[in-house]
């Protein structure tokens, strides 16, 4: 076979190994014409693209021009060096989690959840918490020995924390879908500040989730875990029950 990938130097693949081929689209605030195409090309060259080719340009009507381009990057990436922090427990299914609780925790596990700040997108948190779950994966509410409180949307951080303390929950799980102007970062940071100000950081397992949230980001912000697109209730449940045991919150 002619094709053997050097993982220390990976490059994009168009139709030949290491050809570096990439597709781009963008708009420049300059009028349609050959100079605009040239500007687009120069930009790509600055980004380390060779053989940049503007395959389509379109007048957007206000002296701005839209481009579709192809070209070949001169950069490569060492894939072997990559180490993405991940939730490291194994994911159990619903029955696995229930057995785990029976065996190791022997009491009800309590989880509170909300979509906080101005965010009104409840579908994600409902997917995790509600009975019916999502894409064939039952939600936490259906788990035996798991008690859930779903506070819904647009819950202020203060209200959520107060309720968590009042209910003496094990885990607080927060959904953030809107990310414009980094509003999710601000909101999640503020929550951690509140928890710390109250001196209850160690009492709770703190989890956040949403389509633009990853485990790494969550850790950076001070959460214990983060779950992105395509997560299910069992991911959260497995993490929570493991943490309860590991952190001796039994």
């Amino acid at each position: 076979m002619s094709n053997s990938v050097d993982l220390t130097k990976i490059k994009p693949y168009g139709d030949t190994l290491n050809d570096g081929a990439m597709q781009f689209s963008f708009t420049l605030p300059v009028p349609f014409g050959p100079e605009a195409d040239e500007a687009a090309k120069i930009l790509l060259q600055k980004m380390g693209i060779k053989d940049a080719s503007i395959v389509h340009s379109e007048d957007l009507g206000i002296g701005y021009t839209f481009f579709v381009a192809y070209g070949k990057t001169t950069y490569d990436v060492n894939y072997e060096d990559i180490d993405v922090p991940k939730v490291d427990n194994e994911v159990m299914d619903k029955y696995g989690v229930e057995d785990f609780i029976n065996e190791h925790i022997k009491r009800e596990v309590k989880i509170i959840g909300a979509c906080t700040g101005t965010d009104a997108h409840t579908v994600g948190i409902d997917a995790i918490m509600n009975m019916k779950g999502y894409a064939g994966h039952y939600g936490l509410e259906r788990y035996k020995k798991v008690e859930t409180i779903n506070m819904g949307a647009q819950v202020p951080n203060e209200v959520l924390l107060a309720k968590a303390i009042e209910e003496n929950v094990d885990a607080i799980i927060i959904s953030q879908i809107v990310t414009q102007k980094e509003v999710h970062i601000k909101n999640l940071t503020n929550f951690i500040e509140l928890v710390e100000a109250e001196g209850v950081r160690d009492k709770f397992i703190l989890i956040c989730g949403g389509p633009r949230i990853g485990h790494e980001l969550a850790k950076e912000l001070g959460f214990d875990a983060g779950f992105g697109r395509g997560s299910f209730a069992e991911d959260v449940a497995s993490f929570v029950v493991n943490q309860i045991v590991d952190r001796d919150l039994i």
């Binding site: 689209s25 963008f26 708009t27 379109e58 957007l60 009507g61 206000i62 701005y64 839209f66 101005t118 965010d119 009104a120 409840t122 579908v123 409902d126 819904g152 949307a153 647009q154 809107v178 414009q180 102007k181 509003v183 389509p211």
Partner: protein
């Protein structure tokens, strides 16, 4: 229009009958209540505007003052009229400013003759009614002179947060072919119990709805409309805690379309149902009178519930919304009832079911300028596939002759639209609307086929649902979570404290004027 679905029109009538009873039942409640925003709206329509030095809108200050002194059950018209009799030559604005400045205590002024108060207020009200009439005429003039795009209208949103940046993008869209521009509101504005003031340049995922922003955008669209030789319609969002106020601002600044749906607020914004149903009535009266098309929010149900399973809830809600609109004297030609292309793209024959649904809406509401919403729920970061999902959506629209096509963006699952996203979306719609223009007229649906059968069963379920609602009451049904699977309590949610039971002497000149006359019949 000939029926392609072979729908049982008797069953449609029956369903419509249930909806009427449901609406009339709620209207009884509405008729005896007012709210803080309804009263602020009256003030705005009497010309009261502006903010104080800590940016509180004057209409809020005045209404709060009256409410705090227990006078809101009579309505602001009563108190302002009374004050105008006391301080002759003072306009409602001047009187309001006197209140703001603490110069007068409006509820403590000597109370004048009731009929004189009414006469005074109606005089002023009529001036503003004239301004609305003038706007309506101006729109018609524009339409006659410039014309408009062919239906389905191409509707796109701008949402930068900065009204000036919005203007640039709106103009670009119009030049590219858009017929309607909506300025999306900033996140959570619908929960503010006041309307912000002035031109604004910051927002989250949208731009504040303010009267000044309306004016700026209206002017820009009139300009670009001349340039492209088409009248460009402007949309904003009324639903929320300030529903009638925004409707009034829209009427004064010649907006053309207004999102306006109490059910949306209840379910998706957790606004108290009593509050928003009362607000909705007045807002629709205003929209109806000022020739503004309303858009209802049935599409939103399908973003949380499944489009195949819950299709009948959309139809049921459309029928209810129709009756609410009729009670507010809003003509069918202005009822932009909502629905949406939200079938799971992995569903075998999903397109076929969606076609049935869209055609059914068309046939059941033949005169309504239906608002058709794009795929959102099943959009992903795969912008290439997304553009195809939007293409299928555009096909259904042209096949079933939808009126208002809210264009889907390939980046729906990623960010609010970039300039280029809008261009891609417009290109998509223009291509399909032209390349398949007559297809709908050239095909028929098989008797007893999937499409006809599907439409039949959705209609049957909707009729059953409406019968249940009629029996149990609309508010009770919402409490049970029958719409979009979301439960809302009668006394829960935001804004209940803004609801006030009317006194027998309460009056609202605009409801009387707008329902009673004008160029609307």
């Amino acid at each position: 229009m000939e029926s392609k679905l072979n729908l049982d029109m008797k069953l449609v009538d029956k369903a419509r009958g249930h909806a009427k009873e449901i609406a009339v039942d709620i209207q009884k409640f509405i008729d005896v209540h007012t709210t803080v925003t309804v009263e602020r709206t009256v003030l705005r329509l009497l010309g009261v505007d502006g903010i104080d030095d800590i940016e509180r809108p004057i209409p809020n200050i005045v209404v709060d003052e009256i409410r705090n002194n227990g006078g809101l059950d009579l309505g602001v018209s009563y108190w302002i009229g009374n004050a105008m009799l006391e301080y002759e030559n003072k306009s409602p604005q001047e009187i309001s400013e006197m209140i703001v400045n603490g110069e007068i205590k409006i509820t403590e002024i000597k109370q004048h003759d009731y009929e004189e108060i009414r006469t005074k207020i109606f005089e002023v009200a009529k001036q503003y009614i004239d301004r609305i009439d003038a706007n309506r005429n101006k729109r018609e003039e524009y339409l006659a002179r410039l014309g408009e795009g062919a239906k389905p209208y191409l509707y796109v949103i701008v949402a930068t947060g900065n009204i000036y940046e919005d203007v640039i993008q709106a103009k670009a869209a119009a030049i590219q072919g858009a017929d309607i521009i909506a300025v999306i509101r900033t996140t959570a504005q619908s929960l503010l119990d006041y309307v912000p003031y002035g031109a604004t340049t910051e927002g989250f995922g949208g731009t504040f709805a303010t009267q000044e922003n309306f004016k700026i955008m209206r002017k820009a669209l009139d300009e670009v409309g001349e340039e492209v030789g088409r009248y460009i319609r402007l949309v904003n969002y009324a639903s929320g805690l300030c529903m009638p106020e925004i409707a009034a601002m829209g009427a004064l600044e010649r907006l053309d379309v207004m999102l306006n749906d109490a059910l949306y607020g209840i379910l998706f914004r957790d606004i108290n149902m009593q509050r928003t149903l009362v607000d909705q009535f007045f807002s629709r009266v205003i929209n109806g009178y000022s020739g503004v098309i309303i858009n209802t929010g049935e599409d939103n149900y399908l973003t949380t519930s499944d489009a195949y399973e819950e299709a009948h809830t959309v139809l049921a809600s459309q029928l209810i919304n129709e009756q609410f609109a009729l009670l507010a004297n809003l003509p069918e030609e202005q009822m932009g009832l909502g629905h949406a292309f939200e079938m799971n793209p992995t569903l075998k024959d999903g397109f076929v079911y969606e076609l049935a649904q869209a055609q059914m809406a068309r046939e059941i509401f033949p005169k309504a300028p239906l608002k058709y919403m794009p795929p959102t729920k099943y959009m992903t970061g795969d912008i290439f596939k997304g553009n195809v999902q939007d293409a299928l959506f555009n096909m259904i629209a042209v096949l079933t002759k939808q009126d208002i096509q809210l264009l889907g963006m390939p980046t729906e699952a990623i960010h609010t639209p970039f300039l280029q996203d809008r261009s891609i979306a417009i290109e998509n719609a223009k291509y399909i609307f032209n390349n398949m223009r007559s297809l709908g007229d050239d095909i028929t649906y098989k008797e007893g086929g999937i499409i006809q059968t599907r439409a039949k069963s959705v209609l049957e379920e909707a009729e059953k649902m409406l019968m249940n609602i009629k029996n149990e009451g609309l508010m009770q049904t919402i409490e049970q979570g029958k719409f979009a699977g979301i439960k809302r309590a009668m006394d829960g949610g935001k804004g209940l404290d803004g609801v006030v039971k009317k006194d027998g002497k309460y009056f609202n000149p605009f409801i009387e004027l707008m329902l009673g006359g004008g160029n609307n019949e």
